[in-house]
Amino acid sequence: MIWGVDVASMLLGGVAAGMVLFIVSVGLSVTMGLMGFVNLAHGGFAMLGGYAIVQAMKHWGLGFVPALVFGFVVTALVSVVLERLLYSRLYRANELDQVLLTIGLVFVMIASVTLLLGPENQPIRLPAALQGQIDLGIVRYRTYSVVLIAAGLLIAAALWLVFERTQIGAQIRAAVDNRRMAESLGINIDRLFTITFAAGSGLAALGGGLGAEFLGLDPQYPLKYLVYFLIVVAVGGLGRVTGVFWAALLIGVLDFVLKKYLPQGGTAFIYAFTILLLLWRPQGLFGGAAR
């Protein structure tokens, strides 16, 4: 029984952390898979979204859920503007020029947020119902972790439906598998990318808001967590929604277990795990063959 409680609480904690990783990273994975665009500013959209959500709750008294919706929409809109103005000019450019552009954008985002709202961490106030603990029968656990898991599952299910059951989902899958083929079938890749980019950034915003309780929210956010997002994308396989999902959960749970039982190892285990996994499967757990 004690053992069961232990395992259950470990799974809950790890899965909840994994869900945050999933929500933020999934957009990055799909846009990178679709266009091969190295968007290092993805975490920046998570930060912008998180800020929008916190500010909306603080100044306009918006509830948590309406604020999340607001953050999604605002960030998606901002990202479309940036995508049309900046990203679209570099679709066929060298990936290193893309790195330069997106890192530059990250610097601009960090500096703007710092100048406008200060360098300090932005605390998020969760509704009282989401704080404290919840009794799940076998174990009492942090309510918000359970909420995160539910939210993550909901988003994953919605994404699955979009990808499997809609025209646009089918187009994205086709384009990720073989862009040239998809183009020759008359799929408008640029338009597809704009839509995916907006949705992915919006999701990142949700992740920024939902994860703020764990990850905090400050101007350095886009750089602080970039490595984690990239690890999830690489381990999951580019452009694979299910891949990102399982990779995020795997890393979330593994990180949790290792931290609990081997805290002395620091974060070294996650890096070692990523190295071994990528050597074993260079295209990630769910990635296709090398292209």
Partner: protein
């Protein structure tokens, strides 16, 4: 001068261009004159100047793998750190304090790390390789943090007893004149080596690997072996950069192994223009001078200016500042001559 044999083919302009492309161009001494000029005219800026020169050396080592062999890595600080800790640990324990031989040891250790990781990692490319190099570096950083007894952990190793250069010139922390000239000399030697290398047939074959790795295999090149060799040489130079940084500062810490350093040097090289030898110089000067002087006048908001510069260069220049210069000068020449410019080889 080349002395063409009686046969005709070597008289063609393309053959002349290839045979003479390693020749010194008129403007090539300029960076070195400027560096000496800085020493004479701005003696108060030598601490910054020393850091700038070390960064150029580090970026140059990255250019070898990234610009010439096309290996995109986010883990190059692993070698910088390996070199820095080699110098630091040997000096702190009183085992080795002579600077020049210390650099050779730093290069050897970094090369060993490069060889070991290169053999394992260079079978992959793209995002996978990027993440593998990054994680390897992060692992080394963790290891350095855990090996507190040797590395000083987060605090690092301070007040390293570095022997005077050539037995005569002390390293003064406040007026780093010796450091500056020392780093400049080492940079010059390393630059000559890299320059020779990229114009050699070996360098040419690296360019071939960058341009089309599959075709390189199809002409019979042992691609993996070349990449590993190039990676090892580059690691050795990065190790020299790290070692000399530790000597000049009499200090090592975990920052030498950090992602920050690896990412910054990548940005610097891309900003300057990779695969062009001088991109390391231009990029380091542009990036560091801008952030240094902008942060003096505007300590809280200088990142905005830097970010905008990166965005503008990415949007309007094809391959960094040197790419922009090349495009402009080609356009000017075309307008001036009214004839198509002769195809210059890429990578020069």
């Amino acid at each position: 001068m080349i002395s063409p044999p009686p046969s005709g083919p070597l008289d063609r302009p393309a053959a002349h261009a290839l045979a003479g492309r390693h020749w010194l161009r008129a403007w090539e001494p300029i960076p070195w004159i400027l560096a000496l000029g800085l020493f004479v005219l701005f003696p108060k800026h030598l601490a910054f100047g020393t850091e700038l020169l070390v960064t150029i050396l580090f970026a140059l080592s990255l250019d070898l793998v990234l610009g010439y062999a096309g290996i995109v890595t986010l883990g190059h600080a692993a070698f910088f750190g390996a070199g820095a800790y080699t110098v630091g640990i040997l000096a702190k324990r009183g085992l080795w304090t002579e600077p020049i031989t210390g650099l050779i040891l730093a290069a050897a250790v970094a090369a060993a790390v490069g060889l070991g990781s290169g053999v394992v990692l260079l079978r992959t490319r793209g995002l996978t390789l990027l993440m593998l190099t990054l994680c390897t570096m992060a692992l080394l950083e963790e290891a350095a943090n855990l090996a507190h007894d040797y590395t000083g952990g987060f605090d690092g190793l301070d007040s390293l007893p570095i022997a005077p250069l050539l037995g005569r010139f002390e390293f003064n922390p406040l007026y780093p004149t010796t450091q500056y000239l020392y780093v400049l000399a080492v940079l010059f030697v390393c630059f000559l080596f890299v320059r020779t290398l990229v114009y050699s047939p070996f360098g040419q074959s690296l360019t071939g690997i960058r341009e089309n790795i599959l075709r390189m295999r199809a002409v019979g090149a042992p691609v993996r072996q070349r990449l590993v060799l190039c990676y090892t040489l580059s690691a050795a130079i990065a190790g020299v950069a790290g070692g000399i940084w530790a000597q000049a500062n009499a200090y090592v810490n975990l920052g030498t192994l950090a992602l920050d350093r690896a990412a910054t040097v990548l940005i610097i090289l891309v900003l300057g223009g990779f695969g062009r030898l001088y991109g390391a110089f231009i990029g380091a000067v542009a990036y560091m001078a801008l952030s240094h002087f902008l942060s003096k006048v505007y300590p809280t908001g200088w990142q905005l200016g830097l970010g905008l510069l990166l965005v503008v260069i990415a949007l309007f220049a094809n391959n960094g500042i040197l790419g922009l210069v090349e495009t402009c000068s080609r356009a000017l020449r075309r307008r001036g001559a009214g004839a198509p410019a002769p195809g210059a080889s890429a990578g020069q």
